[in-house]
Symmetry: C2
Subunit: 425 residues, 2 copies
């Protein structure tokens, strides 16, 4: 039986999960995968943590050189996070001809070109299923499951923290601040939640996934990004009563016009499979020209789910020799010929404060009409004094047209536009 030596760099949440899975399943993999996967070493400064996980003392490496020059190590697992040390270590491993498995979305997103060059030059593998959507095998699916298709669209709920917060606001009517505090208490959000709630985490993942789906590098800088920090529970309530759920959506589209990539909160119709993806669950909904609509659903984070993705990559690398760097083909750098769409179209949800006078709704509709924005639904909610709240859902329209119409409404003092949110179509 083939023996494969693994070294794990970093025994944090994901590294600890991968270590547990590998050691507890060694015989299972011998039997089912015909390969003996052995953890040869770990690189972890916190020796107490390593020992607590059951790592034998002599398997704790002192430095990266010990790992990358160890002839018994075939696969190096980078799960330390961050981009400085991680980049140095991954390059050192690739340059030594070791296959690398990483969960580091920021590293893969920002340095894929450099990593890919090193991997190809040294005939090493480079795998990163765990960088996107935890245990859900979305990268494997893009590469080996729906690769017969031109993918026209990808919509994902790919950040568990924001989905937890939005689900809590929806189901319990809490404010954003209350839901965030709750997520922090339960460990679903960091003390500094910026990376999650402002959509950076989702943008890294969308850059990676759309690069693979569209067969060309989609740089982070091309991803439009808007977070959920400003979301008002009042809008979630109005949206719900009109049949929508608010989600932080990652959207990737490819058409004749170019590639469009964006992360922002959006209302999703309750009948759409993504609308029911709640709490810390994640999902990606794809449309391919042959397969049609496909959705993958599962846990987007956590010790064992993300560890499962790391170990699946290890097994894949250990059992597929000839195709080591398959995950990177055609995703080197942004192609000069690729166009990116910036003035994208969407349907919109608007909450307006209007004077409760006859004719005001007609005036609003007429202003929107002038800018080519057509209205799908218009509902007058409760008023207070001589003011009324009006909720509008538009048909799909160019964002610029909508912005112009909104500016005009404000300028003419016909209505005060309190909220503008996108509606997924």
């Amino acid at each position: 039986m083939k023996k494969i030596g693994v070294s794990i760099l970093g025994l944090g949440v994901v590294g600890g999960g991968a270590y547990k899975i590998l050691t507890q399943h060694r015989e299972f993999y011998q039997r089912t995968q015909d390969v003996d996967i052995v953890v040869e070493s770990v690189l972890e400064k916190n020796r107490a943590r390593a020992l607590a996980l059951g790592v034998p003392e002599e398997r704790i490496a002192s430095n990266i050189a010990e790992v990358v020059f160890d002839p018994d190590v075939n696969i190096v697992v980078e799960v330390i996070g961050g981009v400085e040390d991680a980049r140095e270590y991954v390059l050192a491993a690739l340059n030594a001809g070791k296959t690398v498995v990483t969960s580091n979305k920021e590293l893969v997103c920002k340095f894929s070109h450099e990593l890919e060059r090193a991997a190809k030059r040294h005939n090493a593998g480079l795998y990163f299923e765990a960088s996107c959507v935890g245990g859900v095998p979305i990268i494997r699916t893009l590469l080996d499951g729906v690769q017969a298709n031109r993918i026209s669209s990808m919509m994902g709920i790919i950040n568990g923290t924001t989905n937890y917060i939005l689900t809590k606001m929806t189901k319990e009517g809490t404010t954003y601040e209350e839901a965030l505090a709750d997520a922090q208490r339960l460990g679903f959000a960091e003390a500094d939640p910026t990376a999650d709630v402002e959509g950076y985490d989702a943008a890294y993942k969308l850059s990676i996934l759309s690069s693979l789906a569209f067969h060309t590098k989609v740089p982070l800088a091309k991803v439009f990004r808007e977070g959920i920090a400003g979301v008002d529970k009042e809008d979630i309530g109005h949206g719900n009563s009109l049949g929508y759920e608010l989600k932080l959506l990652a959207v990737g589209k490819q058409s004749e016009a170019g590639i469009e990539v964006r992360v922002h909160p959006a209302f999703v119709r309750k009948e759409h499979p993504l609308a029911n993806v709640d709490g810390s669950f994640n999902a990606v909904f794809l449309t391919g020209d042959s397969v049609g609509e496909v959705m993958l659903y599962g846990r987007g984070a956590g010790e064992l789910p993300t560890g499962s993705a790391v170990v699946s990559d290890i097994i894949y690398a250990a059992t597929h020799n000839e195709n080591k760097y398959s995950t990177f083909k055609n995703t080197a750098t942004a192609d000069k010929d690729v166009k990116f769409v910036t003035d994208f179209s969407s349907a919109y949800y608007l909450r307006l404060n209007v004077s409760d006078r006859p004719g005001v709704l007609a005036k609003i509709a007429s202003q929107f009409g002038k800018y080519g924005v057509s209205i799908d639904k218009l509902v007058q909610a409760q008023g207070a004094g001589d003011k009324a709240t009006v909720i509008l859902i538009t048909h799909e329209t160019h964002e610029l047209s909508l912005k112009n119409a909104v500016a005009k409404l404000d300028a003419l003092e016909i209505a005060e536009v309190k909220t503008v949110l996108r509606v997924a179509s």
Copy 2:
């Protein structure tokens, strides 16, 4: 660039779809997969059909020998269906060292051992993603996506015809007969619908999927099977009002007690992701020890979705040389040591006809209690004359206990048990 020659046996729905996808995407695959896939020949008795698809006359083979002895053919696609000719052709191709891609669930289910032996002996590949759940890459996911996990449970809606019928009965309140006639009119059901409505189609797929998930051959004979032909719209209505949707479920479980595989109608709680899988859509919901819950959702049938699965296998085979028969490892024959569970447990839905007299509900509850069946919900529906309809949902219980309790109720003439259906847990 590597050139791969393909021959397609049979240009029916799936074969026609695969032919269209391959010919329309040839340049796309050259660019994105670095492989030139050429349809070298087709074997189709109906020459007019082949010509109508645009197959050049000289590429229509006259017999199987022409295909399997053609040195330009690397991959043979078997999409003729049935098991007699298909088996002969597939064995001929494998024996000639050609890799085979097939969509034939009955063939794979019944003859996997023989096909695997031939593939191994001649170092040929054998792929069958298209045999299960159309374009949804469930086999790829089991083999290369969640392979780090011990799978404890698999629940699937894996037959589009029955899901179409049950969805129509649920949404429109039609009878089984009306819904079936509608499905036949739309081409979702065959003139003889037995294979679908009696669960044979789902049983073939469950045998294949559970063999892969549980790493041991699960023979068709071990799959408990019950169809939907007896389903009464009245029960669907009662279930709906209690918060359940009726689905034809394929269930595979593995535990210390053994492997349990069954296909039957079952009520699914509306909050479960499978409950929202409607119409001709399919889904498989997996539970792995590390990844937790994962669901794959998409179109389970159709020319292009199933064609997409065929072509994904072709690309996989064309770009992964060293691991040609990966799909079959460890699924040769039933292992003598493997136990199969037959007296399985479930929660149950029962519809009873009772005399509308004081104390009758207490008597029913007491009889169930005697057999260790505990009641989760008990609702008295409308009555007619001195009769009343009672709906019961039990907690999970052994099927044998339930059957004994039901027999006793009937014998004592306390209640007439009109319907017993399982409830998924």
